[in-house]
């Protein structure tokens, strides 16, 4: 006869394993199948993503004095084709200003490969989490607000990826 021991530790371990598998599958499928014909789902806005958003931040070479890199990609939902020339707006609470202040905001355009990269001041924890904000808000595609979190406040870069669907 087998005795199943249901301790808190077992349950936690099992829960953790299930969670890890889920995260891994999601991560791997995202990496391996970027261009599957009808498969690429559009990115949903994250909760709190639009907080302290300011409409029409200017396209800049660098926000403030720089030192931190925000990068990512913009692709089309469905076929995953890279979208060039898309304006991505970026803002955060940094060493040079609070989230709502104009000098903390800037925008950049994606290159031919759909990638963008903008230098900005170091992001620091605000409201208990070191995080950045990004927006696609140009109108051709549906508006998306993202709020990626840094694994540690010491990191000097952060990534966010957009998959856009027609407006």
């Amino acid at each position: 006869m087998t005795i199943v021991v249901l301790s808190r530790r077992n349950l936690l371990a099992a829960g953790g394993a299930v969670l890890a598998t889920g995260v891994l599958t999601a991560g791997v499928s995202g990496l391996l199948l970027p261009a599957r014909a009808d498969g690429l789902a559009p990115t949903e806005s994250m909760s709190g993503g639009a907080n302290n958003y300011r409409k029409g931040a200017p396209v800049v070479d660098r926000i403030g004095k720089g030192g931190f890199w925000m990068s990512g990609t913009v692709r089309r939902a469905g076929d995953g084709a890279p979208l060039a020339g898309q304006r991505i707006q970026i803002w955060a609470h940094t060493v040079e200003g609070q989230e709502h202040e104009p000098q903390s905001h800037g925008a950049t355009l994606t290159g031919k490969d759909g990638a963008f990269r903008l230098e900005m001041p170091q992001i620091i924890p605000i409201f208990g989490q070191p995080h950045g904000h990004l927006a696609y808000d140009s109108g051709e595609f549906k508006t998306v607000f993202l709020r990626p979190i840094m694994r540690s406040a010491k990191e000097t870069s952060l990534e966010a990826h957009f998959v856009l669907q027609p407006a």
Partner: protein, 198 residues
């Protein structure tokens, strides 16, 4: 000895937070809001010590009186904490209060806040409502447990000005003091129950 330990448990985390480099990038209102939160956690530690009679030099009566006043101060500290954060970033505070914040610690803070307000309000109205001590305890004890548990989780999950180890130590002290006072209360009640049944 207990007084010294209490002063250290509350003073050290506040001193570490006051030395945090994060403060350089924050406005005065945000800094005030943050420290109101830390002070509130310190007061949550004082409360069970007072009502349990563990602080030498305070009579049971004085301890209870001070417990009432500290309770009021705790509610005030929470008001300053929430108002300061609201002024700093209104959309983030609204998300938190409506339980739609992306930060996992926010709902715990909001639950603790409502529990603190509920206890403070009921304490003010206790006489007027004619609540007996027994009834009052049935209401206050579960709310106190909610306040302590939710405050500790809220605080531990936040990445802010508090230094990790001194923060964890303060949280552990809050939990220990609460468990001790609850256990003592339980034992006293058990003893009294025995006496009555005999």
């Amino acid at each position: 000895m207990i007084w010294a330990a209490l002063a250290l448990a509350i003073g050290v985390p506040i001193a570490f937070a006051a030395a945090s480099e994060q403060l350089a990038w924050r406005g005065p209102v945000y800094i005030l809001a943050g420290f109101a939160g830390i002070v509130a956690l310190g007061l949550v530690l004082v409360q069970p010590l007072l009502i349990g009679g563990y602080l030498p030099g305070l009579s049971a009566y004085r301890g209870r009186r001070v417990h009432h006043w500290i309770g009021g101060a705790l509610a005030l500290a929470v008001v300053i904490h929430v108002a300061g954060l609201w002024i700093t970033s209104p959309p983030d505070m609204i998300d938190a209060l409506t339980f739609s914040s992306p930060t996992p610690f926010s709902p715990f803070g909001v639950i603790a806040m409502w529990a603190i307000f509920a206890v403070a309000l009921l304490a003010l109205l206790r006489r007027r409502l004619g609540l007996r001590l027994r009834t009052w305890r049935i209401v206050h004890l579960p709310l106190a447990i909610v306040i302590v548990a939710a405050s500790v989780v809220h605080c531990l999950l936040i990445e802010g000005t508090m230094e990790t180890i001194s923060k964890a130590a303060l949280c552990a002290a809050v939990l220990a003091a609460t468990i001790k006072v609850m256990a003592d209360l339980w034992r006293k009640r058990a003893l009294r129950g025995e006496r009555i049944s005999n």
